[in-house]
Amino acid sequence: MKQAYDFAREAFFAPTGLSEAHLEQVFSQLLTKDTTLADLYFQSARHESWGLEEGIIKSGSYSIEQGVGVRSVCGEQTGFAYSGEITLPALLESAKAARAISRAGQSGAVNAWTVRTPQRPLYGIDDPLNSLSEDDKISFLRQIDSIARATSPYVRQVMASMVAVHEIILVVDETGRMTADVRPLVRANVSVIVERNGQTESATAGGGGRFNLDYFVSGNKAQEYAEEAVRKALINLDAEAAPAGNMTVVLGNGWPGVLLHEAIGHGLEGDFNRKGTSAFAGRIGEQVAAKGITVVDDGTLEQRRGSLSVDDEGTQTQCTTLIEDGILKGYLFDRQNAALMGTQSTGNGRRQSYANLPMPRMTNTYMRAGDYDPAEIIASVEKGIYAVNFSGGQVDITSGKFVFSASEAYQIENGKIGKPLKNATLIGNGPDVLTRVSMIGNDLQLDTGIGVCGKDGQSVPVGVGQPTLRVDGLTVGGTATA
């Protein structure tokens, strides 16, 4: 069977005539005696997307993104250049530009090449763009449209999209390691607008992961996503203004794990902690969460959106424990930050593309399950809110303040779920919020495969998850003064 490395050779070496001898030339340009780390990141990504709106297939697009990024690191300093052309002259020019970071004149060399194929591939190597016929892709979108419209007479607009990406990467580093990975990524999304008596609301649903498009068809996802989007939009039609102020918040399982991503995850990325600019810097070993709370970042889950067989520096991903039983255990590292902090990469070196530098980034971040029945958690709250879905979040890692916006939330009164609420934004303090978790559900769930994480202008796919949680005291920013 063809391995990832065979795909990489076909994509990057066969059409360009590049060979290992050429790579040696490039590295002899790139390396100096100061170099602590250097790599070439070859990438070829094909994207295809289809969009339905107003009942017709309104858009379709196809693109190829291909190039090589060349990096030279001397301690804390990084030189970087990239090229959309994969040729020896382009590589040599990029290498010359990247090595300008080093003051040393002498050149270095790579001793021997070793080819590494991911030992534990987490996804198939087949091209998802070809996994369904064009007719089937389109009929999936049409199905979403008709199901959504049949679900409620109030549905006025349905927008559905399907995206498939097939990406081949090859990382060649200063130790001579050549690591290839072939990565599928698919995503389907439904947005609906509903209108009733002149009042308009919207909602979205969807999912995806690192698998083929037939996941959507064979799993009857058209129905699942369409009905979910309509359900959420209709609830918002009935929703009232959220209260404002500090109150008990129950967070639903699955996607609300975006709380962990914002409140904890970013603050534990190795770069911020090396530089001491994170509110969590220097706090390893401290109690930062209530007892019973364990949070991990796990890049090794099969076919998950945030998973990678190897990261973008060729390091095998792992399951890293960030918090164990409430104690802060570790940070997330790429190679550079790990070396500077005297430790090993945790396989979290990720980049948006060959035209960007890698940084420590999350993969799939989630909290392990506890003991409480979710119903028991709701029943325990006299007055508060139950936040089930979120549209996104953001954090200031230095002050630790984070925000996230609920797209589906309900009142809780006397232990019972009440009226739906809209316009609820939750704000809190990262280092503090997990100390206020008083009940952890037994219903751990990961999200459906929709997460995109932005950092320093770069976007990468991620996953989040958590069980139902009770948090005693979060600030809810609504318009209704309680």
Binding site: W50, A244, T277, S391, V395, D396, T398, S399, T475, T481
Partner: protein
């Protein structure tokens, strides 16, 4: 050391390429086609704690191609300009068009709306900048910031960026436009600490003309002042109060207006300002103009992404909405004319009401001055607005203490109507130019 070669003019080569691709599309049976070709290069340096941290060279290129078979459209793009890649890209666009639906509103913009005049906008000012010069400038900026106050204990660094690009747009009406532009910036972000309170803030300067950038000393000092004054921030109790958006945040409110009156939101009926031309959406003193032809401005362009000529016009006059932002597709859907907005808004200028910033604080009396917003809690369909905020509590026109961990909430419709005054402290760094905006009241949620 490699110097940045950012003086380039590939227009002849790219014009020939564009003509070939358009001809090939026609040969494939396309009834119309359009493409853009972009190429850019840049240098960016980042320093931190007095040392170079990153030195990056950027070179990007891409072709985006749309083909029409009657009213069916296919789209493809590539970064590879080889003849084979161009042929494959065209093939992919044609394949896509076989599966998209007939859509009567699809097609090139109307031929008679193509720009015929290309005023000199003076957007191209390459910077003869090498890495050493850029590093020195960034180091100086950060040094000034770090030395400014003993409480500045750490840094996220300072950076210099220089970008130069050219862009060509051509379509099968025979339109072809070429534009060159540059953009340079200097930025700095530092961290201050006082006891348990750790805060960061930043400042930047951006211009198409290198000589018009603020000095390293001034960017560094501003970043430091902004950071230090955030220390020991606290939350507020939940209340209703007036809110003053400083110009950098006020720009976002104008941005919300732009999306609400953009063609896509209007024809999808996904806007809190639906069918709003002629509607009084603001108090009668509010005037917003779009001016695409300001020399050296960041939002200037003489034609949009479809070749349609742009023109200066009123967006809001005496508080009443005068027009939308329309490309040809949304214009046809709405039975209107393109406004040359296929690339979005150009330069937007919000007129001030003749008050200085201190006078605005005095006018507010007691309320929240917002300097930073986080989170995405804006619903463009309903206008519901709820975001995390950082800023300063103001009493009797005087700043009392920094504020954090609060949210501000309201509805954009009411917020627009509730504008009390617009300051003359205009921030000209972006394509939206506005002073501070004072809003009568919002809900502030805190501890």
């Amino acid at each position: 050391m490699i110097e940045l070669d950012n003086r380039f003019d590939l227009s002849t080569e790219f014009q020939a390429m564009a003509e070939q691709v358009l001809a090939a599309a026609k040969a494939k049976g396309a009834t119309a086609a359009e493409l853009d070709i972009d190429k850019s290069m840049g240098l960016s340096v980042e320093v931190r704690m007095g040392q170079v941290e990153k030195l990056q060279y950027h070179r990007d290129q891409g072709i985006n191609l749309a083909v029409y078979f009657g009213h069916r459209k296919g789209y493809a793009s590539t970064g590879d300009f080889s003849p084979q890649a161009l042929a494959d890209t065209l093939e992919a666009a044609c394949r896509i068009a076989r599966y998209t639906s007939e859509d009567d509103f699809n097609g090139l913009a109307d031929a008679e709306r193509m720009a015929t005049e290309f005023p000199k906008l003076d957007l191209y000012h390459p910077w003869e900048l090498n890495a050493d010069m850029a590093i020195d400038m960034a180091l100086q900026t950060e040094a000034v910031a770090r030395e400014h106050d003993a409480r500045i204990t750490n840094s996220e660094g300072a950076g210099v960026d220089s970008y130069a690009g050219m862009s060509l747009y051509a379509n099968s009406h025979g339109f072809m436009g070429v534009s060159h532009s540059t953009r340079h910036s200097l930025s700095c972000s530092v961290v201050a600490q006082d006891g348990d309170s750790m805060q960061r803030d930043y400042w930047y300067s951006v211009s198409r003309v290198p000589g018009l950038l603020e000095s390293a000393d001034s960017v560094g000092a501003e970043a430091a002042q902004r950071t230090v004054r955030r220390l020991n921030a606290r939350s507020l109790s939940t209340r209703e109060a007036p809110v003053l958006f400083v110009p950098q945040m006020a720009r976002g409110l104008v941005g919300q207006l732009v999306s609400a009156i953009s063609g896509g939101s209007q024809y999808r009926k996904a806007s809190f300002l639906l069918n709003s031309i002629g509607q009084q959406a603001f108090p009668d003193f509010v005037q917003l103009r779009e001016d695409p032809l300001i020399r050296q401005a960041l939002g200037s362009r003489s034609y949009d992404a479809e070749g349609v000529a742009t023109q200066a016009r009123d967006i809001v006059k005496d508080g009443i909405i005068q027009g939308y932002f329309l490309g040809s597709y949304s214009a046809r859907k709405l039975g209107m004319q393109s406004t040359g907005s296929a690339s979005g808004a150009t330069n937007l200028l919000l007129a001030d009401t003749g008050v200085s910033f201190p006078d605005l604080l005095a006018q507010m009396g007691t309320g929240l001055m917002v300097t930073e917003l986080i989170g995405s809690g804006v619903n463009g369909i309903t206008g519901d607005y709820s975001r995390g905020a950082v800023g300063y509590w103001v009493e009797n026109g005087m700043i009392v203490h920094p504020v954090e961990e609060v949210t501000i909430a309201g509805n954009l419709k009411a917020m627009f109507k509730g504008i009390v005054a617009i300051g003359d402290d205009v921030d000209a760094r972006g394509s939206i130019r506005t002073g501070s905006i004072l809003i009568d009241k919002m809900t502030i949620a805190g501890q």
